[in-house]
Amino acid sequence: MIEIENVRKSFGSLEVLKGINLTVPKGEVLTIIGGSGSGKSTLLTCINGLEAIDSGRIVVDGTDVHAKATDLNRLRRKLGIVFQQWNAFPHLTVLENVMLAPRKVLGLPKAEAEAIAVKQLTHVGLGEKLKVYPNRMSGGQQQRMAIARALAMSPEYMLFDEVTSALDPQLVGEVLDTLRMLASEGMTMICVTHEMKFAREVSDRVAFFHKGVMAEIAPPAELFGAPKDPELQSFLAATH
């Protein structure tokens, strides 16, 4: 379970998170929507400790993420994250990209790490691309590789930060299909996205962020069907 309690975060004089409270139980698929600069991506990087918070608490399965004593490298093994930019390691093949962390972080023997990597890459439809270097693949394929790379650590939670925003429109579908598949398998996911149709289909709950505040959170039918917050109403009107 991820518990977010009254989290505040500023970049200089700009407060990007103004007291966020949110609990994500195991097995839930939560999507976060909202305009640019609403703080949704920042929240994700705070959850796995890539960004510090100013006040409040984020607790993952009982571990306070930002406590001094917390071993972040260990905690991040159960919190997979995929970014807008897929950030392939360009000097490694697709297989090596996915094998690296299981080998070096989990300390698995080579054969075992390779088996996991092959399984995850096949899972996201890249079973034919094992020996290829990332720059020989499309953006959508590289993004799916990044998803496989995160999954190879057997995380319990997956955070997706606008993973389709940097893709050509015709490549968005293949990545969303991968996310749908994960959701249907019961993975706990927090997805920051601009894909409203996707949010409506896969989410258990949808949260709307506006100017650093979680303005509304509800099951998709309710949030999209009868939005209460006036900002959400105009946001939805603008995206349709």
């Binding site: 490298n73 991040r76 970014f83 390691f89 000097h91 962390a101 070096k104 995160a150």
Partner: protein, 217 residues
């Protein structure tokens, strides 16, 4: 039409000089590179503010002519009664000189790795040192290699200046022969050819590595 007083013994003497040039270069480039990697990492990780004293010290080594550094270094070791032989003094000064340039090459290489790539590595649970070892260093090496090869070749030629401390390296050996045989053009041509023979493989190995790594970038 063409006669020379140069004997096989003289050629062996030149070869010995070339061996000294190689030895000074290999030791200095190796030590200078290790120091350069260390200083380069310190510069990147500490940021420009905290590493300012280091940057200043290295700037001194980059801006003062090597000959002056060698003479001052030699005077300093004798004032401090270190009792270093010329070879040691030469290698110490040349290593620091190499390190000063290598630091900037390493810094540029590390900075060329996108922060987002490093963030992806850290988000997989890799520690700082794992990120450095498996992601940053391999990528930075590819970027830095051409400049590093250039630095190595430069240091090899600059190493001729250690003759001022009394080391008989390739150029000094040639000078001795010129003085004795009075055939400057012929002997300096041989000397230049030997420098080329030493440099060429280094440049070629660099070119080969660059080519081998490039299709993956």
């Amino acid at each position: 039409m063409f006669g020379t007083a140069l004997t096989w013994g003289d050629l062996a003497f030149l070869a010995q000089g070339a061996g000294m040039t190689l030895a000074v270069t290999v030791v200095s480039v190796a030590a200078g590179t290790v120091l350069g990697i260390l200083f380069g990492m310190i510069r990147v990780e500490l940021g420009p503010y905290w590493s300012a004293p280091l940057t200043f010290a290295l700037d001194v080594f980059r801006s003062v002519p090597l000959l002056i550094q060698l003479v001052l270094g030699n005077a300093l070791q004798s004032i401090m009664r270190l009792g270093w032989p010329p070879f040691t003094t030469s290698c110490v000064v040349l290593s620091l000189y190499t390190a000063a340039y290598c630091t900037e090459i390493v810094r540029g290489g590390i900075s060329s790795v996108p922060p987002t790539t490093r963030r992806a590595a850290r988000s997989l649970g890799m520690s700082w040192s794992q990120d450095m070892r498996y992601i940053v260093m391999p990528l930075a090496t590819r970027v830095s290699l051409p400049s590093w090869i250039g630095l190595t070749l430069g240091v090899m030629k600059d190493s001729a200046l250690v003759l001022w401390l009394g080391l008989i390296e390739l150029l000094r050996a040639s000078q001795i022969l010129v003085t004795r045989l009075q055939e400057p053009l012929f002997i300096l041509m041989i000397c230049g050819a030997v420098y080329f023979i030493i440099s060429f493989p280094i440049a070629r190995i660099g070119g080969y590595l660059e080519k081998r790594w490039s299709p993956n970038d």
